[in-house]
């Protein structure tokens, strides 16, 4: 298919989407691994609560999530104003806010995948590592983490794909400002809202699919390499 030439604004949306999705996914990864580890391995007071909170963005209509983000992380929101006064970090109506929204929406998907993988790691191998002198942290880094990589990759892909498709929470939280918060899917949405926008929507949709498919293929190749290494113990 030949792509009709894209407008400057559309290129901007593509670049922005890539940036937002990548940052969202990578920045939430450490927390995702931590939360997944806690949920998989620890029994603590508040386990169910944490689990519930992680799933919230999935359960709530995205618009509601967006409103909650707006209330909490907006300039006048309690977290938002704290972040601004303390770190000078402004999320509202910035691409960073879009990344936050995407990260939040993708978080349950990421955590679930990672958690499943952690649960599949053989505790006997961790025991063996302990007896060889590895502290719990080193066991995690040298045994658990490498063995759960397939789940981490799956989680990254799901979250990335979700970030590419997400607009409900994003547009509600940080609006739809070209060059700053207008991601590809927000642009697509905008096109669907006006008469005759179908062609534009289709064009951008195809681009979105191409990007995500590339990410998907990459992840499969990666997972296969990791898998090959571990295969058939």
């Amino acid at each position: 298919m030949e792509l009709p030439s894209l407008s400057e604004e559309e290129w901007t949306a593509i670049r922005l989407s890539l940036k937002v999705a990548s940052v969202a996914v990578l920045a939430s990864l450490p927390l995702g691994v931590l939360v997944a580890y806690l949920l998989a391995r620890k029994r603590f007071w508040g386990h169910a609560l944490l689990n519930g909170i992680v799933h919230l963005p999935l359960i709530l209509p995205p618009v509601v999530t967006g409103y909650l983000l707006l209330i909490a992380f907006g300039r006048r929101g309690f977290i938002g104003s704290f972040l601004e006064s303390t770190f000078g970090l402004i999320l509202s109506f910035r691409w960073t806010g879009a990344a936050l929204a995407c990260a939040v929406m993708g978080f349950p998907l990421m955590v679930r995948s990672i958690r499943l993988s952690i649960e599949a790691v053989d505790l006997k191998l961790e025991e063996a590592a302990r007896t060889l002198g590895a502290s719990p942290v080193m066991v995690f880094l040298t045994v658990t983490l490498p063995l759960m990589l397939p789940g981490v990759i799956a989680g990254l892909v799901l979250a990335f794909a979700k970030a590419m498709g997400e607009f409900g929470a994003t547009i509600t939280f940080v609006s739809n400002i070209p060059g700053e918060t207008q991601t590809l899917s927000a642009a697509i949405y905008t096109f669907t809202q006006v008469p005759g926008g179908d062609a534009g929507a289709l064009r951008l949709t195809v681009i979105s699919i191409i990007i995500s498919m590339a990410a998907l293929l990459l992840s499969e190749a990666l997972a296969r390499r990791v898998g090959n290494r571990i295969e058939a113990e």
Binding site: L125, A128, R130, L132, G133, A134, P136, V139, A232, E233
Partner: protein, 359 residues
């Protein structure tokens, strides 16, 4: 290094009560399948925290539940060979072997990679991943990995069970050297009487989670006929005296008698232990002539007990050593044996296991 274990623990319906101590060297846990050997090892290794317990190695307290002390496994300085290989599937054989070295505070002199890799025959496997190794290859890598971690205690759970005789014969002397030269306390689980007799300074017999006997190899392996089946016998200790008569042989001076054994790499004056299975001792009422066995010991019958299968167990006093023999009831009847009778014990020299060095 001394070693003391005191454990009370319940897992499911299974209850473990094990108290034993050792002056060091190899302590063998011996007992039937399911008697709790692995469970004890896991507790000593810190993988299970027992309901009550106290574990000392030298003067270091690994565990004392009454004082709330429980050293985590990675601080116990372990080398643990598990009953199954437990290799890391994402690491190459080389990386598996090196794993413990990444964390070892210091490298023991015995943890020389080339040496251990050579002994275990792992050279060709180094770049491979564990997935496609054979059963015995995996077990060898697991042994190497534990040794290379420069442990201060070695826990070995049937480490040689998947290996062929030739490979075992290469590894056993190495373990003996760890025991003797390095004073490394070793807790060793095995079903093989030969291995245990050869290695163990102290044998702890277990059944149903309880210790049913503690003693040196001779006492336990000689007495515990139930545990050992047809493998009952004597374990004797003495000094090596080289022979001028035949360079292939050496004599072991025991208390009041001597035994000829293959010389191997023995040297004069060395302390040494041998295991003589009772079923390999023949008795003769008169001194046999022109016989291929080098060892004919004169002795006196001290005890005779009927055993299952019509066999008779006989304890002889040769000099000051007690030797056990097992013969058929029919022979005993024919030879008209009685306690107090003087007798000759015939032992084929090559029937002895190549003896390990005692400390």
């Amino acid at each position: 290094m001394t070693f003391a274990v005191e454990i009370r623990h319940s897992q499911g319906d299974f209850r473990i009560e094990a108290d034993f101590a050792s002056e060091g060297g190899v302590t063998a846990l011996f007992g039937r399948s399911g008697s709790g050997k692995t469970s004890v090892l896991r507790i000593v290794g810190g993988l299970v925290r027992p309901d009550h317990g106290r574990i000392l190695v030298g003067d270091q307290v690994l565990l004392d539940t009454s004082k709330g002390i429980c050293l985590p496994p990675h601080r116990r300085g372990l080398g643990y060979v598990f009953q199954e290989p437990r290799l890391f599937p994402h690491l190459s054989v080389r990386q598996n072997l090196n794993y413990g070295q990444w964390f070892a505070r210091s490298r023991s002199s015995f943890a020389d990679p080339d040496r251990i890799i050579g002994m275990l025959g792992l050279e060709a496997l180094l770049p491979r991943r564990p997935g496609s190794l054979s059963g015995g290859e995996k077990q060898r890598v697991a042994i190497g990995r534990a040794l290379l971690a420069s442990p201060r205690i070695l826990l070995m759970d049937e480490p040689l069970s998947a290996l062929d005789e030739a490979r075992k014969a290469e590894i056993l002397p190495y373990i003996e050297r760890l025991r003797d030269d390095l004073n490394l306390p070793i807790l060793y689980v095995s079903h093989s009487v030969g291995e245990v007799a050869r290695l163990a300074d102290r044998v702890v017999a277990m059944a149903d989670g309880r210790v049913t006997g503690i003693g040196n190899a001779s006492e336990i392996l000689g007495i515990q006929t139930i545990a050992t089946g047809r493998e009952s016998g004597s374990v004797l200790e003495g000094l090596v005296r080289l022979q001028d008569e035949d360079p292939d042989l050496a004599a072991i001076a025991l208390r009041g008698c001597r035994l000829l054994v293959p010389r191997g790499d023995l040297h004069e004056g060395q302390k040494l232990r041998v295991h003589i299975p009772a079923r390999e001792v023949l008795l003769a009422t008169s001194k046999p002539q022109g016989i291929s066995a080098l060892n004919v010991l004169k002795g006196e019958i001290r005890a005779m007990t009927g055993s299952d299968g019509g066999a008779v167990d006989i304890a002889l006093l040769c000099g000051e050593e007690v030797l056990r023999a097992r013969i058929t009831g029919l022979s005993a009847k024919r030879m008209d044996l009685m306690v107090g009778q003087s007798i000759h014990a015939i032992i084929k020299t090559v029937a002895l296991d190549p003896p390990g060095r005692a400390r």
